[in-house]
Symmetry: C2
Subunit: 392 residues, 2 copies
């Protein structure tokens, strides 16, 4: 799972990808057939194949009876049908979500369990292990597991081994399941998932904004998840939209999160005399045109649109995806967002930004964890095919 | 210059890179020596080498006398010392700049010529051709030219052949010089140049802001120039910083450019009773502590810092580089920028953003054109070595 960036390491990775790709398309092949198709020297090919067999990605099958009779037993190589299973986990603030895919990159199971915000990280990890255990069975064999991708709350630096929550998560899960574990910010992973399996599968440059208890998001840049220099990208919730506004949990002032979180909207709605047990009451009232709910949601939309405009002018995404509980308000939210976004965009950019609701719901970040490991592990090869990718 | 993204094309590109790299490090090598070092089959290696000889990147040298006498004439392969020369051109609003590098990626010449803003694109292209002709000589042989990278004013879409100014520039220069021509926005190219040769050679995620007659910039994301979905990234000058402010040339309102351009600063300074023939008078007065100049520059700094904070929260660059004529004000500008940037950043990000002045000056975008073609052309191989890269 380490990244090797030298030209020889890149070349070796390319060779591995090529061999895996030929086996995926061409079914079982002999070494001679592989050699004829891949253009590698015998020495290089045997070296690559040996490593792929050793790490379990490829299996060598016994020669069949017909070949034996002709006295020319030729071993054939094939993808290991039990390799390449992957699990995604989202250790979110109020719930743990898990999802699993098989070697064909089909989603074979998902599970979610809510918990109180007081549950600590170790408790969330234990809950995730329990949910994964519940998914295990015919379609997910833990012995065939190749990698786990995990979404965690808060900043996750790019460099591995920098300690903190990501290191604890990684150590704990890789000890339990014996496979590599990659960790990234869960909201960024939801952004990746929307671009791989969700609302933006047709786009290479995507901005994903999540309006939930917290406000955050992620950027997909030219098809890849963008982390930023210190793992601190996608903090849209901490763009200041009201310099004289209230103090944010982050320590800043007037952050978007202080006016656009679930809690801020509920508070605004109740202060205006609205009655709501939870945010779903507000968003459905806004959809139904109830004036106080519509106003509370529209106020969020204007702030969101203004913040998005600044980011879009800088980054130039063609697609903006909005998710989280507030997105359930539909056009009552996206109308005002679109209006403020349009006002703040360079006129030349206005027709070029496509605003869409998120498609993946609460398991988005867990699916993003899978996308992360599919993207990074040579064992699992490239991104799932966008045409055949399952939606959750 | 087309991009081929299939696995076989990527692999071939990797093979070419490897062969070029081995020749660059190991001097002239026989085919047998190359084969032993690169791990390719004889067939593949001969195919790759044949293509590199055909396109002029590699030359086959005659066997030397000692070998002849021993009766074993072995042809040796070497990088073509006359290949791999590249030219960068900046067709800016008020001047044309050109720069050239040799096969060793050393800058062998630069030239600039100011012109009036009324000079049309065809006129600027003709001026560029004249300046390139003036550079031609012993160190730049036009016959050995491999590619030209051009910076142009305004949006440049990612997809080639989309018409407009980029298509005109590309057609005109490739007809004149007979080589591939790549075009990108000139301010984005200046961003790339700062990351390859300038103030941010140690950084992979860079935000470059240029405060000049216009205000713009570019993002380098994980070491590569970021374009955005429609070639519209880096438009920092059109982030609204004053919603009730004045109309911008772009059609928007209160854009950063309306308060932070050279023209806006001169106007503000003169309105306050300051006397300045040009912006250099204002920036040097601000450096000297003259109150009206310092105030005019500080006002820019506060707006710039606030806009940068929004972008940094979203994108997470570790390094912010400020260039353009206004950067000459030094700490009189960067002090207020830093103050407003810090106030607007998430507290956790505050110690992680490094603010620096640009290092490359007016020829930056032309150097960025070279970086663009060095990065894209298999002939010219990878980016210049950052340790040995020349600074302009």
């Amino acid at each position: 799972m380490q990244q090797h960036d030298g030209p020889l390491a890149r070349l070796r990775r390319g060779h591995e990808d090529l061999v895996l790709d030929l086996l995926r398309r061409g079914g079982p092949l002999s070494r001679a057939e592989l050699g004829a198709q891949c253009g590698l020297s015998r020495t290089t090919l045997y070296d690559i194949v040996g490593a792929l067999v050793a790490n379990g990605a490829v299996v060598a099958s016994a020669p069949d009876a017909a070949q034996r009779r002709r006295g020319r037993p030729v071993e054939r190589l094939a993808l290991n049908p039990e390799a390449g299973q992957a699990i995604g986990i989202d250790l979110a603030r109020r719930a743990v979500h898990v999802a699993a895919v098989n070697v064909a990159h089909e989603v074979v199971g998902t599970a979610s369990r809510p918990h109180g915000p007081e549950l600590d990280l170790a408790g969330r990890i234990a809950l995730a292990e329990e949910l994964v255990g519940g998914l295990a069975g015919d379609s997910l064999r833990l012995a065939a597991l190749s990698a786990i991708g995990v979404g965690a709350v808060g900043p996750v630096a790019s460099a591995p081994g920098t300690g903190g929550a990501p290191a604890l998560i990684s150590a704990s899960l890789s000890r339990r399941f014996g496979v590599p574990v990659l960790v990234d910010n869960n909201t960024r992973l939801a952004a990746l998932a929307e671009s791989v399996w969700g609302a933006a599968t047709d786009a290479r440059d995507v901005l994903y904004l999540r309006l939930s208890h917290g406000v955050g998001g992620g950027l997909v840049v030219d098809g890849a998840l963008h982390r930023g220099a210190h793992g601190l990208s996608g903090e849209f919730g901490h763009i200041s939209v009201d310099p004289g506004g209230r103090r944010c949990e982050c320590g800043g002032t007037g952050c978007l999160e202080t006016v656009a979180s679930v809690g801020a909207v509920l508070e605004r709605y109740r202060a205006a005399g609205g009655a709501a047990a939870d945010i779903a009451d507000v968003t459905s009232a806004a959809r139904a045109g109830e004036p106080r709910a519509a106003e509370a949601v529209a106020a969020v939309g204007h702030h969101v649109g203004a913040a998005l405009a600044a980011v879009c002018n800088a980054v130039g995404p063609g697609t903006v995806v909005i998710g989280g509980e507030l997105a359930a308000a539909g056009e009552a939210l996206t109308g005002p967002v679109r209006e403020a976004l349009t006002a703040g965009l360079m006129p030349v950019s206005r027709p070029l930004v496509d605003l869409r609701p998120a498609a993946l719901g609460e398991v988005g970040a867990a699916l993003g964890g899978i996308a992360l490991v599919l993207h990074r592990s040579p064992l699992l090869s490239r991104y799932p095919n966008r045409e055949t990718g399952e939606e959750a």
